[in-house]
Symmetry: C2
Subunit: 158 residues, 2 copies
């Protein structure tokens, strides 16, 4: 599944550790209208797209009471991204920036974080709005969104 892009000028790769330290399960898939990375919106703020989260039925009981929340976090695994670039030149920026100062899929652990609107739950499937990832992306977690811990409307960015 690796879709390696060559490094651009200014990009720096690091040597990854020799082995993994822990393992993740893919617990479902995210269904979206986007068939390639080129079709994906840049992030959830630029998306109004409807999607579905198809959870492995063995975990369906884990959704109990999730419908009490208006928004949920999806954590998903960006399985097509290389993991060794530590300094990147994003197309929209045009100059290098550290990987941890970007929300790029390219990072040592390619985990994305997306807050989406929860529209409904049917069995082991969530209906959501504001999806931004490729159709079929592996899901690794669902969490309720807590404004008390997660919302910082005045957070500063460049």
């Amino acid at each position: 599944m690796a879709e390696r892009s060559d490094a651009r000028p200014g990009e720096v790769a690091t040597e990854l550790p020799a082995s993994h330290d822990a393992g993740v399960y893919f617990i479902g898939r995210i269904r979206t209208p986007f068939k390639s990375r080129a079709e994906c919106p840049r992030n959830t703020a630029e998306s109004d797209a409807l999607g579905r989260v198809e959870l492995d039925p063995r975990f369906a009981a884990g959704l109990e009471d999730l419908g009490l929340y208006s928004h949920v976090w999806l954590l998903y695994w960006m399985d097509r991204a290389r993991r060794d670039l530590i300094r990147q030149v994003p197309a929209h920026l045009g100059r290098p920036r550290g990987t941890f100062a970007l929300r790029s899929p390219v990072r040592p652990n390619p985990i994305a974080l997306a807050a989406v609107e929860l529209l409904g739950i049917d069995g082991a499937t969530l209906r959501v709005r504001k999806v931004d990832c490729i159709d079929g992306t592996p899901l690794i977690d669902i969490k309720p969104y807590f404004a008390s811990t997660d919302s910082f409307p005045d957070a500063r960015r460049p």
Copy 2:
């Protein structure tokens, strides 16, 4: 490292998949004043504690420009939690709730998500405020906080 707690009445375990689907690297450690789970605040909103994020030096270049942000996400691996409970009875709730409707460490992929204030960066170390985890917790990612995608002050919860 497994610190297994027995299931409480109303709790349900599921059979986990036979093998992992992907691997994570521990890219650093989070240093906090809390030596046990009992000492930890319930979440970052109830914490004013100072902490340090000690990144593996091989990834230090990844911090370039992160100081432009006031808040960052820490993703960390809760390596003492069991992974098979799909319905839990949190002490503060006193009745069962689905794992994905909780921010409990107990979940199929024990990844925690914490927005903290970024106070400064010294080499491969971040100084942060509002930490809530046990001292030494393995770090798996750092991301900049974007109010545009991450802040929903009116998100509804029960």
